[in-house]
Each structure stands twice: as structure tokens, then as C-alpha cells.
């Protein structure tokens, strides 16, 4: 009886997993099929593997290939993810270890911006960046990243720092460490798990970002993968299925790799702070 129940549970678990993952597998294998086969056969695996989708899809706009879009995406995502991680750690340290006047109010303000929808402030931000001459560059992403722009990451690292005993700092003070050195030499090495998860979160969300790149980036030479895909979709979705599928797979791969390399950090990071997504 208990064994049967267990078997039922596993059957259900596998079935749900299959339904959830099947679309992704279909996309992956579809990228190696001919257009005719995608349209006519529901078989998952291609009857004959063709790389035409990748070869032709790679050409992108003609002038700029998906290789260019890939490099662009990295140029946007890497500085953004790294700078956000650093600045949010520094800010979290300030909130976690110092009791300055207005601390409570500022901290609540910081948390409340979690619930401020970006769509509400997009118009003035756009005008501001336009005024600075930053449109059509990656500065609207990189500069805010330096300013500890994401309350989510600050809160995440704050939670973690609060969990580290204060005696550590105090004994370091006895040894003559400045507060900056306490941060870089004592707390930073201990915070590695929090920092790694913040960096991973950040990489993934920046990688998939669409609305803001759509607004801030206009020249094809600076397109990210998201914009490249959308352009392809607009031009010839009706005829070139396997090309679009191939480039979608290509655009999703870095996220998938990152996720499997770090899934432990990732899922547990959400459980601990639980805000984004």
C-alpha cells in the first residue's frame, strides 16, 4: 500500500516535470529540424539533424550577426551584474552595521522601493538619461548598477550580514582595523554565498531584460539578444521557424548553464529572501 502510494507520487512528479519541460525540449530539438518537419510532425527528435537554422539565423540583421548581439549582451549584463553586486554589498554593510540617525526611516524607504513599479518612473528616467546624453548606450544600466539601485540585492545581503556575529567586527576593531577593512577583509570573505547568489540572480534577470533595453537602445549595432530576437520575429516569423528557434535556444543557453551550475545557491537564495520573480 505504502509502496503503491509512493509509486503514484513519483508518477505524478515525473508527469508534471515532463509537461513543464517538454516545451523547452521541443524548442531545442525543433531548432535542428527543417521548417517542413516542424509544421507536420509532432515527433520530438528530428528525423534528420540539420544545422540550417543556426547557420542562417546567426546572420541576424545581415550587417550585425547574433555573435555581435551576444557580445553586446555580455557588455551590458556583466558590468551591470558585477557593479550591482558590489554596490549592494557596500550599502547592505552600511545598513547592517551602523546605527546612524534616520537609520530606520532610510531603511524602510529602501525596502518600500521594492514595491515601486519601474513602469511608473520610466518616463522621467528616460527624459533624465536623454538629458545626460546616455540614450542608445549601456550607461542607463551601468550607472544605476553602481548606485546600489536594486533594493532586492541590498536586502538579500543585509539579511546575510545580520546573520554574521558582531563579535567578529569588534575583535577586528581591537586589532586596529578600520571599518572599511572590516568590510573587505572580514565580512566579504564570509559573505561569499550571499554574494554569489546575488551575482547569479542579477546575471539572469539582466540577461532576460527586455522592456528597458527596448526603450534605451535604438541602434542595431548595440542590440542585445532580446532585441535581436524580437527583430527577427517582426521581420519573418512566418517563414523561418527553425532560424528563430535556433537563435532562441542560443539566447537561452547561458541562463540554463548558469542555472545548473549554481541551482543550489539560486533556489535557496529565493527561499531566504524571497522577493523577486
Amino acid at each position: 500500500m505504502a509502496g503503491l502510494k509512493k509509486a503514484n507520487a513519483y508518477f505524478l512528479l515525473v508527469l508534471i516535470g515532463f509537461i513543464l519541460i517538454y516545451p523547452l525540449l521541443w524548442l531545442f530539438f525543433g531548432s535542428m529540424k527543417t521548417n517542413e518537419e516542424i509544421l507536420t510532425s509532432i515527433r520530438l527528435f528530428p528525423s534528420k539533424v540539420v544545422w540550417e537554422g543556426y547557420r542562417l539565423g546567426w546572420k541576424g540583421s545581415g550587417q550585425f550577426t547574433f555573435g555581435d548581439f551576444f557580445v553586446n549582451t555580455f557588455q551590458l549584463v556583466m558590468p551591470t551584474a558585477i557593479l550591482t553586486t558590489i554596490s549592494s554589498f557596500v550599502v547592505a554593510y552600511g545598513f547592517a552595521r551602523f546605527r546612524f540617525p534616520l537609520h530606520r526611516i532610510l531603511f524602510s524607504l529602501m525596502l518600500s522601493t521594492l514595491m515601486l513599479p519601474p513602469t511608473v518612473v520610466i518616463i522621467p528616467r528616460y527624459l533624465l538619461f536623454n538629458h545626460f546624453g546616455w540614450l542608445d548606450s549601456y550607461l542607463p544600466f551601468i550607472v544605476p548598477a553602481m548606485l546600489g539601485f536594486s533594493p532586492f540585492y541590498i536586502f538579500m545581503q543585509y539579511q546575510f550580514l545580520r546573520g554574521l556575529p558582531r563579535e567578529l567586527d569588534e575583535s577586528a576593531v581591537m586589532d586596529g582595523c578600520s571599518s572599511f577593512k572590516i568590510m573587505t577583509h572580514i565580512l566579504l570573505p564570509l559573505s561569499k554565498p550571499a554574494i554569489v547568489s546575488a551575482a547569479i540572480f542579477n546575471f539572469m534577470w539582466a540577461w532576460n531584460e527586455f522592456f528597458s533595453v527596448l526603450i534605451y537602445i535604438s541602434s542595431v549595432s548595440k542590440y542585445t539578444i532580446s532585441l535581436g530576437l524580437r527583430m527577427m520575429m517582426d521581420i519573418d516569423a512566418a517563414t523561418t521557424w527553425n532560424q528563430i528557434m535556433a537563435m532562441s535556444v542560443f539566447g537561452m543557453l547561458p541562463c540554463v548553464l548558469f542555472f545548473f551550475l549554481s541551482q543550489r545557491y539560486f533556489v535557496e537564495g529565493i527561499a531566504k529572501t524571497g522577493i523577486k520573480g
Binding site: M115, V256, A271
Partner: protein
């Protein structure tokens, strides 16, 4: 290093919790404070101001009073439809996602092997939140000749026009949100692990069946997480953009024209910055009202372990 020389005097001050030393904290939070003032507070105020102006980007903003707000109801033929579509979207997508996440979390909360593996697999679709690639995938799955209709055909079920039927398109798009239930699932799972086993023990002794246990033990214990998920997911859902923009372009006959698309079109296609700012403030108000109402109602349905209300 000068910091090393200054060190000892610092340490004495620090031990005495000197006020000066605590002020150093401002230096560390300075980046955030600047970001907050320049990129959050100023834009919030500015968008309120712009919402009372005519602002076509190339000329200076011109104060027009309530004109923008009035023309939403009198001139803009898309406004009313967009509000209705967005409300439908939120009412369908959020509860469907949360219920799915909760059911899956219950399934994963059994004491069986390999649960971490399943959790990882179930989370996978959620790493592509808001991604264009997923929007493309959805279009291919649900288009007329797409995989879903091909499968239906095997069972001799006539093809359904998932994306072309105005009655169906919004629902089809909302399935993306349901598919990406991972974050809510992980939070529910963390909550389920917190429920003390003794409660179920007591429930069993009182003769409660599985469903009664869920209804009177598990669910009340999870209500704080339901509240949190409900608020965060609703705020996100109000802003969804990628799927309707890429897959249906708001159609057919504007049946998936979400509010975020209305803001995008007015702000970044027609460059009616003042009007777009007014629309975005209206969305902000809607979110505030929603959040306040949910928080207020939570005293009647959210159960806190420490008995606090």
C-alpha cells in the same frame, strides 16, 4: 596604509559606540541614497508634474492641469479597454499561478527521495521570466499550426485558434505566467517546512483527514506567504509587457492590449510624455490601492504564529 595608522584610535571610539563612528555608515549607504534621490524620488515627483503637462519631448512641458487625466476618459479610445484587459489579466494570471505553485509545493513537500531534483526541474522555466525567447516559444506552441494543435489533431480534436481568438488570446498568454510558477513555489515550500509536525500529530489524533488537515492546519500556517506572494505577483502582473508585445502585439482587436503597452505606445511611440506620465501615475495609484486593501483585509485571513495582528 593610513587606515592602519588610524586604526587604534578608531577602535576605542567604536567600542564606546561613539556617534561619530556610527556616522561613517552614511558613507556606505551613500551610493543607494544618491540612486534613491536621483533615480526614484525625483522621477516619481517629476512624473507627477509631467502628468499635468503637455510634453512632446522636443518642446518644453506646458502646464495643462487635469487635461491628461480627463482625456483618458473622453478622448483615448484604448484606455477603457486597456484597463479592463489588465484587470482580467491580473485576476486570471495571479491566482492561477499561485494555486499551481501551492499544489506543486505540496507535492514536493513529501518525504521522498530526489525532491531537490524535481524542485530544480520545476524551477527551470522560471529562469526565463520576461524573456523574449519564451514569448517566441509560446507563439510557436500556440499558433494555428503549432505543436498544441498538432497534438489535439492526433486525438481528432479540431484546431483551436489560441492566439487569434480575442476571447482566448489573453488566457493563452497568461499560461506563460502559470508555467513560470517557480519563485512562488519555492516560497511556499519554505513555508511548508516551517509548519510544526506536532500540529499534524494533533490533527491525526482528532481524526482529521488529509483534506481537513490541509484546510485547517497547512493553509492557515501558509497565509503570511500567500499574502506576500499575492502582493509581489500582482505588482509584477500589472507591469507585464514582453509576452503581449512580442506575441500578439496587443491584438487581436486589442484583446491583449495591457496597460504597460498603452504606456509604451503613448510614451515611446507617439512621444506624448505628459499623457504617458499620467497613465503611469494612474497605474501607481491602482497598485497602491490594491496593496492597501490587501494589507487591510489580511487581518481577517492571515494567521501569524505569534498571535500578532
Amino acid at each position: 596604509m593610513s587606515s592602519q595608522i588610524r586604526g587604534p584610535s578608531f577602535s576605542i571610539k567604536r567600542l564606546s559606540k561613539s556617534r561619530n563612528n556610527q556616522l561613517v555608515g552614511y558613507l556606505y549607504i551613500l551610493p543607494w541614497l544618491l540612486g534613491f534621490l536621483i533615480l526614484e524620488l525625483y522621477p516619481l515627483g517629476a512624473s507627477l508634474y509631467y502628468s499635468f503637462t503637455d510634453y512632446a519631448l522636443l518642446s518644453d512641458p506646458r502646464f495643462v492641469g487635469l487635461k491628461n487625466y480627463l482625456s483618458m476618459f473622453t478622448k483615448d479610445i484604448n484606455f477603457e479597454n486597456s484597463v479592463v484587459v489588465t484587470l482580467k489579466w491580473v485576476i486570471v494570471a495571479v491566482p492561477l499561478k499561485l494555486i499551481t505553485a501551492l499544489l506543486v509545493a505540496l507535492l514536493l513537500n513529501q518525504k521522498l527521495k530526489h525532491m531537490n531534483f524535481f524542485r530544480t526541474v520545476y524551477y527551470l522555466p522560471s529562469i526565463f521570466a520576461g524573456s523574449v525567447a519564451v514569448a517566441i516559444l509560446w507563439r510557436f506552441l500556440f499558433m494555428r499550426e503549432g505543436l498544441i494543435n498538432q497534438i489535439l489533431d492526433v486525438f481528432k480534436i479540431p484546431a483551436i485558434d489560441w492566439l487569434g481568438d480575442p476571447k482566448l488570446a489573453l488566457f493563452t498568454l497568461s499560461l506563460i505566467n502559470v508555467w513560470q510558477f517557480g519563485t512562488s513555489m519555492v516560497l511556499f515550500l519554505a513555508g511548508l517546512k516551517q509548519v510544526p509536525g506536532e500540529l499534524y500529530e494533533a490533527g491525526r489524533i482528532d481524526g482529521a483527514n488529509k483534506f481537513q488537515q490541509f484546510w485547517s492546519i497547512t493553509l492557515p500556517m501558509l497565509t503570511p506567504i500567500v499574502l506576500f506572494n499575492l502582493i509581489m505577483q500582482t505588482i509584477n502582473a500589472f507591469q507585464d509587457f514582453t509576452a503581449p508585445f512580442v506575441i500578439t502585439k496587443g491584438g487581436p482587436i486589442k484583446s491583449t492590449y495591457l496597460f504597460s503597452m498603452l504606456i509604451y505606445d503613448n510614451g515611446f511611440k507617439f512621444f506624448h510624455m505628459g499623457y504617458a506620465a499620467a497613465l503611469s501615475w494612474l497605474m501607481f495609484l491602482a497598485i497602491i490601492i490594491f496593496t492597501v486593501v490587501v494589507f487591510w483585509s489580511s487581518r481577517y485571513w492571515v494567521h501569524y504564529e505569534d498571535g500578532a495582528k
